[in-house]
């Protein structure tokens, strides 16, 4: 059983799209889910319904800086993970782990006159962990390896946002343009996010000189309970530490966002598109805590004579150092901005069945943009089967082949998308994996005439 679970887990992982980056979905325009990439995409059916449990599930995992091979190649002969080896095998200057989960509880989309209206409810979780390689370096080699320089792990950042998303969409065609948008109401479930994180160690050339640790930043949390045993000297109660599950549905942490999209038919074969997705924020007010260290500069050049002679003075000195690193806790409301994305697409139809396309996309989070470039081919086979394949460059990963299809049988449309099928062949080297699958109930296929400009 355990083995089956393992296989299942690893079967799923390689067929995932990388977190938040979707390379295949833009080309699978026959599904309602393509409108999550560009709300201006007009669906192929007048009505699309997604039901709970069936509608859709997306899981994305992105790894940057390391993968399973990095870890495996860092094992000693006796299967102990050798941290110094691991540090040498890391690429870039940080390890980044992205995990995004998107569970579509339901959607309804229908056509009314020339307009297409839709409503959707999704539960989503976005996790982004960036760990400076120097954290591993410090564990691997110790602080002495930084003698005469500054160890800096300030690029470390962590974001975890869980929220419900209620979207209302509209789209229609205006001659060569399709215009669409989706207004979103976000209801925050819980969050933990670092801000302005600073962690530096000035290591002197010799251990006789002054060493200094500079630490600063804020960790904002909401609805996940108090993380520390005491808050500003007052012991935290168990109730304060516990997660309150009412946060899944209470309306305390509200936010708003918008998706906007546009497509333009350059001619009867070439269509250009652009969209911006998840441009919004959540204002966190429920059970909020801010753990802040105000750029503490902890310096030590060793104990002086008084501290050596007096245990009390030594303890006072050590306490004073630790107190500098003790976070102050406040309860100020705060706002997190969603990791928004943009897509620029170009599709060229050779005929009704064959289309090639190109996508430039990016995701913005915590001050940086992760770019991706995709070339795709899509073919419609028969009446209800759409198949697409693509090649993408994502960040500094150049080996990403995506596949996806949608298959309509009766009123049931099944779709399955996976962005990095090569991960099947080299599961230990994958960096981006994503899966999106589900079933839609679709009615009333719209057969649009081929436009001639």
């Amino acid at each position: 059983m355990k083995k089956n679970i393992k296989l299942f887990a690893f079967f799923l992982l390689p067929i995932c799209l990388h977190a938040q980056i979707e390379t295949t979905m833009p080309a699978l325009s026959a599904t309602h889910q393509a409108t999550y990439i560009n709300p201006a995409i007009l669906p192929a059916f007048s009505t699309s319904i997604g039901t709970p449990l069936m509608s859709g599930f997306g899981l994305s995992i992105g790894l940057n800086g390391l993968n399973a091979r990095t870890v495996i190649s860092s094992l000693d002969a006796d299967s102990f993970l050798n941290i110094p080896k691991l540090y040498n095998n890391l690429k870039g200057d940080k390890i980044e782990i992205d995990v995004a989960v998107n569970y579509e509880i339901f959607h309804v989309r229908f056509k009314c006159k020339n307009w297409y209206y839709g409503i959707n409810l999704n539960t989503r979780n976005i996790t982004n962990v960036r760990l400076s390689n120097e954290l591993i370096g410090l564990v691997a080699n110790g602080n002495d390896s930084y003698a005469g320089s500054t160890w800096d792990a300030s690029s470390t950042a962590i974001t975890n946002i869980a929220f419900n998303e209620l979207g209302f969409s509209m789209a229609r065609n205006f001659d060569r343009f399709n215009v669409g948008g989706r207004a979103k109401l976000y209801q925050g479930i819980g969050v933990a996010q670092t801000k302005d994180f600073t962690l530096k160690l000035n290591q002197p050339k010799t251990p006789t000189e002054e060493i200094s640790l500079i630490a600063g930043g804020v960790i904002n949390t909401a609805s996940i309970g108090v993380l520390t045993d005491s808050v500003n000297g007052r012991a935290s109660s168990n109730d304060e530490k516990a997660i309150d599950y009412k946060n899944f549905y209470s309306m305390g942490n509200l936010g708003a966002g918008i998706d906007l999209g546009l497509t333009y038919d350059v001619n009867n074969r070439l269509t250009l598109g652009a969209s911006i997705i998840d441009f919004g924020f959540i204002n966190w007010t429920n059970n909020v805590n801010n753990y802040s260290i105000n750029n503490a500069d902890v310096r030590s050049n060793g104990l002086n004579k008084e501290q050596i002679d007096s245990g009390k003075k030594l303890n006072n000195y050590l306490d004073s150092l630790f107190n500098l690193l003790k976070p102050k806790v406040s309860e100020n409301h705060f706002t997190t901005f969603m990791p928004w994305r943009f897509y620029v697409t170009a599709n060229y139809k050779f005929n009704r069945r064959n289309t090639i396309g190109a996508v430039i996309q990016g995701r913005y989070l915590l001050g940086s943009i992760l770019p991706a470039y995709t070339l795709s081919y899509a073919r419609k086979i028969g009446d209800g089967f759409h198949l697409t394949a693509n090649y993408s460059i994502i960040g500094n990963s150049y080996t990403n082949i995506g596949l996806g299809w949608s298959l309509k049988m009766g009123s049931v449309q099944w779709y399955l998308i996976q962005d990095n099928v090569l991960a099947y062949f080299k599961p230990d080297q994958f960096q981006f994996m994503s899966l999106r699958l589900g079933f839609n109930l679709v009615f009333g296929e719209i057969r649009r005439p081929l436009k001639v400009y």
Binding site: K6, F10, N141, N143, P204, L303, Y424
Partner: protein, 546 residues
Amino acid sequence: MKKLALGIFSAFALLSTSCIKEIEDTFNDLSSIKGITTNPTIAAPLINATATLRDLIDDFTGDLDISTDADGKIILKFKSVDSVPEKQHIILPGINFSFNIIMPPTEVPNFEAAGRYSQIIANDAAISISGNKRLERLVVNQGSLSLNVGSSFKHNTVVKISYPGITKNGKAYSDSFVFAYNGSTPPNIIRNVDLEGYEIDLTKNGSTYNVFTYELGVDITRNPSNNVGLTDKVSFTQDLIVNEYKRIEGYFGKFEIAEIKQTKELELFDKKLEGNVFVKNPTIKIKLTNSFGLPITAKITELYVVSGAGVQTPIVVNMFQDTFNLDYTTNIGQTKITEYIIDKTNSNIYDIINTAPQYIVYKVLFTANSDDLPKANVISDYTTVKQETYLELPVDVKILKYSLETEGDFELGKSLSDLDSNGVYVNWAETVSDIENELPLNAQIQIYIDDSVTNKVIDSVYNPAYIIPAAAVNSLGEITKPTRANISNMITRAQYEKLIKGNRYRLQIRLKTPETSPGVFPFFSFYDFQKIRVKLGVRTNITYRK
């Protein structure tokens, strides 16, 4: 189309299945991870301390008194204080007497005619005290005067008593006793007087000593219906007792005040292993503070030092070969101080100190009025002789292979062993030091780790011994500049494994004065502004595996 879709799905599934082995292998590799191992080198500053010689000596000795002279030169002081216990050195005899007063028969006719009879008796009572001692004046702290007066006359009688020598606030003590005859003899009247604060003068206004003066007056008023019997009388009894005096004056004869014996531990020297410290000008200062108002003669009956091996060496002081006298005051409340300085000009102290003794022992006998010739003495209830003895060692020294040692429990060994059992394997450790020394003193430091059960040395921490070089000096023995030294000491794994088995440490410091030329070791002065600055850091390489 359904067939096509099924075919594609099947192909996809087949593709997936063919990769299962790859996935399983990857998973197996990851799930086989037993733990982590790492090999960091941790470096941190441990000590950044500045100390003067005074600080260092404090660490070794605890409560040694260290001072400086006007130039800042350090002086070590071993202080010993003792005093003669306060007590009532003079025991006063009681002044007790009794007598009767009758009406002489020749006076009876006059009494019957005049109806009144009066008699006044002024008398002196001698104090019974031995030898040539003299009691003159005293102030009572605790004492009492008890009077018992009675009258058997069948007439009204008044008895008045007055003590010119017992005064309080300048007023002499007096009292009267009234006996009214109403057909039966009135009972005796008893008075008990608390004498605290009263002054008793036994000199009869300065004309003599050991004399107690009183006046008694009797006044009888006739009752015509009664006669005067031959046995009728006024009876009088006095008991005066002084238990404690506040002050007493007179001459109290020759007597031994007290004998003081003290043993003073000379810290700093008690941890000596070997070698000599030559102190250029050692001195012993004796300060005697005398609040006795009488001549005191002191006699040092014992004065010697004891070495670590228990050998007693006498300190020979020329001026103390016989008795010596203390200054004294004749005024109450004042003290007189007598000081003596013992140095190498009047004793063998130079040689004695350079043997680094561990104890100094002395015994002094104090005697009052040793010539036993009467002279003015005054003693109060707090009278004492306070003796303060200072062994002063100005740190003008030369040190030849002088070694100190102190020891304690080595608890770090067990802590490090526990660390080993928690997956931390210490590969090596290195101490790195940056030292600046302004002191004209070479120091060689070694820490030995012992097994206290077998009493055997397991290993030493420093290899070679840790050496702090002295400040640079010129041919005149003057310091020309501080010395800087960077010293590192490596502790290997093999050495580490030995050390953590120990449970006792012995810190051994070997000190040596720098040579100004080969074989020449001058005296160096140590000043409070001379410092030694030590920066000590540690670098440790560990393997963590768990």
